[in-house]
């Protein structure tokens, strides 16, 4: 019933327009080379803050999945993946383009994304409220365990070295401590300056790390002009059968994996693609234009993104950088994601969930006819595109709190983001530590204020600690790490 009310809200012209504009803007930014989904959401975040709460959150979600789809369009047609997860799509998608079959590759990517998105949205409807009910039983000890587990999992899955990821996490937690301490009201790490008292806002930090950082890192990359015509769109019957099978498997796997913190769409794509190649009778076709490769990567991408929303909505725990921005969008309006969200903000949550269905339909209708436009955008020379993106990033940072401090923060973290990319340091743990650090600190100090012995009597705390250890062990065991960040 709640869901139907949400659907009715989203089907009003106003909310349909938010979804449509979000999908359009997201795809538009997502097709630009070197701009991934996280960057697209970070760059566009400040420009949607004037909307009403539900409108902004729906638009943000639409930007997110629009950007993901945009990235795969250029990955298939011009071998310019907008983000890491699209690299997997490019492996076979671009090969299909070279073989004169860009249409079926694009159509399969759209169908796989659509199906995974719809199944994912159904799972959010079914599982989200249950997770939220479970979280009502959580106290400081459980939140401490959950926070530590989330950071451990993110560190284990985010980079090529666990120790490096842990150091980035600690660095992020120290950066999050800058400014007034909530409990005591004392200034920390401000060095007597007034501008640092307000602390670093998440939005300029994210715009810097992902927007400016990616532009600086992409300066050496060149895009290649497209010469291929799209031609016939629909895949053959055999291709459709193979693609749908891969879509089903990738969706099933990634809807479960996506519940884990740190399991970002890019990692889901790599895992699903590997599984698909492993189980294939002709694995040698992968990387040479196998439609299952395109379908598995795209379905995994969307399924993981949808599953990522469950911990965010139910527990208030972001699983990756984009979810951290979604959390920032909620908190901007004084809405706290977590156990009470489904009861206190039921109309908003159900409108958001219903918008996933509507957004996926809009994307399917929008993208295939506009493919030509997206491709032309992707081939704009980078020397023209880069300064425009940099300026939009800075304007976005300024508009967060109307201070030049945020612009300098954005530039500083942009430089940091570029250096971290160049030097092989993972970015995701930094962002998540920025968000989860204060939560962990609050929970730890509450536990210490009562008694550390409290932890001994909380099995859920130990469950999360053991789960974190297990993920660290598994990440070594299966070596699913690498350059897999959003």
């Amino acid at each position: 019933m709640d869901f139907l009310n949400g659907l009715m809200t989203v089907l009003t012209p106003e909310y349909l327009a938010y979804s449509f504009i979000g999908c359009l803007l997201g795809t538009l930014v997502g097709v630009l080379p070197g701009v991934g989904a996280a960057s697209a959401v970070a760059i566009l975040f400040p420009f949607v803050t004037f909307l009403p709460p539900a409108g902004m959150i729906i638009t943000m979600a639409a930007i997110y999945y629009g950007a993901q789809y945009g990235g795969s369009t250029t990955a298939i047609l011009v071998n310019v993946p907008g983000e890491v997860s699209s690299m997997v799509t490019a492996m076979d998608g671009y090969e299909m383009t070279k073989q004169g079959k860009p249409g079926p590759a694009l159509a399969m990517a759209a169908i796989a994304s659509f199906l995974a998105g719809i199944v994912g949205a159904i799972m959010v409807v079914l599982v989200g409220p249950s997770v939220a009910r479970l979280a009502l039983l959580f106290g400081p000890a459980e939140y401490l365990g959950l926070g530590l587990f989330s950071l451990t999992a993110i560190a284990a899955l985010a980079g090529s070295s666990l120790l490096r990821a842990v150091l980035v996490t600690l660095f992020g937690m120290i950066m999050a401590s800058v400014g007034f301490d909530d409990s005591s009201g004392l200034p920390r790490l401000t060095f007597g300056t007034t501008s640092l008292l307000q602390g670093f806002d998440l939005v300029p930090v994210m715009i810097g790390l992902f927007g400016i950082g990616e532009v600086l890192a992409s300066l050496r990359e060149q895009s290649s002009p497209i010469t291929t015509k799209i031609g016939k769109l629909m895949p053959s019957r055999n291709e459709m059968r193979a693609g749908l099978g891969a879509t089903g498997r990738a969706t099933g796997i990634c809807l479960i994996l996506g519940l884990l913190p740190g399991m970002m769409p890019s990692i889901g794509s790599f895992i699903s693609y590997s599984i698909e190649r492993y189980r294939s009778l002709t694995p040698q076709r992968f990387g040479k234009g196998a439609i299952e490769g395109v379908a598995s990567a795209e379905a995994a991408n969307n399924a993981t993104a949808m599953a990522n929303l469950i911990p965010l909505l139910g527990l208030g725990i972001p699983t990756g950088p984009t979810m951290a921005l979604m959390l920032a969008a909620f908190t901007m309006y004084g809405i706290v994601p977590g156990p009470l969200l489904f009861t206190q903000q039921a109309p908003l949550v159900w409108a958001l969930i219903a918008s996933f269905f509507v957004g996926n339909v809009i994307l399917l209708i929008l993208n295939l006819p506009l493919v030509g436009l997206w491709v032309r955008l992707a081939t704009i020379p980078y020397p023209i595109l880069a300064p425009i993106i940099l300026i939009i990033c800075l304007v976005g940072a300024y508009s967060t709190r109307n201070t030049m401090f945020d612009v300098w923060t954005c530039a500083l973290f942009g430089m940091l983001g570029w250096l971290m990319r160049v030097r092989g340091w993972p970015l995701a743990p930094l962002v998540l530590a920025f968000v989860l650090g204060p939560m962990i600190e609050r929970a730890a100090r509450q536990v210490l204020a009562v008694s550390p012995e409290l932890l001994l009597h909380r099995p859920a705390f130990w469950f999360f600690i053991v789960l974190g250890g297990l993920i660290v062990w598994l990440s070594y065991r299966f070596t699913i790490r690498g350059e897999l960040t959003d």
Binding site: F50, R164, S184, P387, I388, I391, L394, G414, R423, G424
Partner: protein
């Protein structure tokens, strides 16, 4: 003889790449250690500050704890990386175009410094002009045709979206 020269040159290149990597690693570690020490010293300052505020010890203790962990982890990573040469190849590949982002970053920082005194519109036009000239090597007409409409058009758009950007010496829009 020629084969020997080629081998010697390869060894020299590899040594120079290794030195660059070692230097970059040293800078990474030094920065992390510095942040760790800053965390510890500021945490101790908060703990030792005479105040009636409840929880000052835990407020300072938290960043002392994080700083200590950061220092310990950095020392461990330094020892580990000194024993391996794992980044040598990556560093030698990326060194050639290392200066492009630095130039762009320098231009960006100058642009930010100019936004308040000159105003968004003029600073943006200037930044776009210099950027397109340096990175795009475009002619004057092309640069003017791109940078001026973008600077004025975006100024108008931000104003239409109720975003108040610094106007500097030009009170427009």
């Amino acid at each position: 003889m020629q084969e020997r020269v080629t081998k010697l040159s390869a060894v020299e290149n590899s040594q120079s790449a290794y030195s660059a990597t070692f230097l970059a690693s040293f800078v990474d570690m030094a920065l992390l250690l510095l942040i760790g020490f800053i965390g510890i010293s500021d945490g101790l300052r908060v703990i030792l500050t005479k105040t009636d505020a409840v929880g000052s010890a835990s407020a300072g203790g938290w960043i002392v704890f994080l700083g200590a962990l950061l220092i310990a982890g950095t020392i461990k990573l330094s020892i580990k990386e000194m024993r391996s040469e794992r980044d040598t190849i990556a560093a030698s590949e990326s060194d050639n175009e290392f200066w492009l982002p630095i130039i762009a970053l320098a231009m960006l920082l100058i642009y930010i410094a100019l936004i308040e005194p000159l105003g968004y519109t003029l600073a943006t036009a200037l930044f776009m002009t210099v950027y397109l000239r340096v990175f795009g090597k475009y002619g004057v007409l092309t640069i003017v045709a791109i940078s001026l409409p973008f600077a004025f058009g975006s100024s108008w758009l931000w104003a239409a979206l109720d975003m108040m950007l610094p106007q500097g010496i030009m009170s427009w829009p």
